[in-house]
Symmetry: C2
Subunit: 206 residues, 2 copies
DNA sequence: ACTTTCTGAAAACGCTTGTTATCAGATCAG
DNA sequence: CTGATCTGATAACAAGCGTTTTCAGAAAGT
């Protein structure tokens, strides 16, 4: 690993790895989700299979890296938005959802990796189950904190329902099946979330 | 196509086709959704590839047949339950959801083919998008009829949200991640559905 | 200079897939 | 019995996959 082209060995390797992750994001988040093959991702990254296995033990490791990258990016942004919002529960919901939607609209590949129903990679599907659970736990934790509800299986169900509904909604929106602006989308989702959260004690509102 | 073993040719062919669909349902609705290969489905059906192509032009045709069969079965049962219920909107929702849950609990393969998130067949994924839209249209039609709401993009969004949330919930329940009885599951879903439906005019209830 | 190492392209290996063809033997029709 | 046809098992084919290896040449170290 000596210096090459004025670049250190570790830097070159990191650069190649980043190119592979970026190409993987292109393919995983593209229209056809099952197109992430080693040959294809290398072609798109302008590299050869030899360099693929320099950074990843196998194909699944790249898929995991791409998904991890996306989850980290999105979760960080959404959580920051929630914490920056006031103490009001609905304000938190609105801030988190707005930031989430903004993020997936800015880079639709991220949204598709997280939510698109037409992605058919087996490992990605399994990881999505876990990240859905993760997001659901975040939600239910927020609910216990803001609404003071106990941690029951029914709360878990509600959180799963919200995550699944949001995923389907964003997937449809990203695919162009829902003719709504970003603001309308956020408003509708906030409405639904608060309706579910308040379902047993609806506020006196018309 | 002469008589063989006392069975007419058409009957034998139909029998073999039914065995293939049943085996396909086993595999598509099994734990690993990507195990439906021609060789495997034939092995499980006790037939050989030659008979596969006697009834299906290619692998995708079998996947489509299995999915179609499941959708028809479930939709028929759920619609019948809705129509048998009284004119009250919540009663209809409860009847439809209860029958849907009963159906997928009776034969979990059906539930998984329709809802499981870990099924990664590309054609099945595409068909699910369409059937989700179909179910969403059924729902929004019901809403327009029962609640008199106009057919806006926001109604479409709400329907998609409900379908997606229900799919995630049933998928989690079938996988054993939600420790709830069938009755509790139905009750919780009804609660969520009515909360969303009534979100702008909540009934005066504690 | 010469040797080591990194690069990029390509070929190779072993496997699974969908799909089609082969073939010996069982079962029917006449 | 004779010959046509259905059966079931198996092999064949071409393609794509993940993964490993080979190899000629460019760049660096000494």
């Amino acid at each position: 690993m000596r210096v090459y082209g004025g670049v250190t060995g570790a830097d070159r390797k990191a650069e190649r790895r980043a190119q592979l992750v970026e190409a993987g994001l292109d393919l995983l988040g593209g229209a056809e989700g099952d197109q992430l093959t080693v040959r294809r991702v290398c072609g798109r990254a302008g590299l050869t299979p030899r360099y693929f296995y320099e950074s990843f033990a196998d194909r699944d490791e790249l898929v995991a890296a791409v998904h991890e990258h996306v989850v980290q990016t999105i979760a960080t942004r959404a959580l920051a938005a929630v914490e920056a919002a006031g103490p009001d529960a609905e304000a938190k919901i609105r801030a988190g959802l707005a930031e989430l939607v903004r993020a997936v609209a800015e880079d639709r590949r991220h949204g598709r990796v997280l939510f698109s129903v037409t992605l058919t990679d087996p490992l990605l599907a399994r990881r999505r189950v876990e990240s859905s659970r993760f997001f659901a736990r975040l939600l239910s934790g927020q609910a216990r904190q803001s609404y003071g509800v106990p941690d029951t299986p029914e709360l878990e169900l509600v959180a799963q329902f919200m995550v699944g509904g949001l995923a389907q909604t964003l997937s449809a929106w990203l695919s162009g099946a829902l003719r709504l602006s970003e603001a309308e989308l956020v408003a509708a989702c906030v409405e639904i979330f608060t309706a579910i959260a308040d379902r047993k004690a609806p506020p006196p509102q018309g």
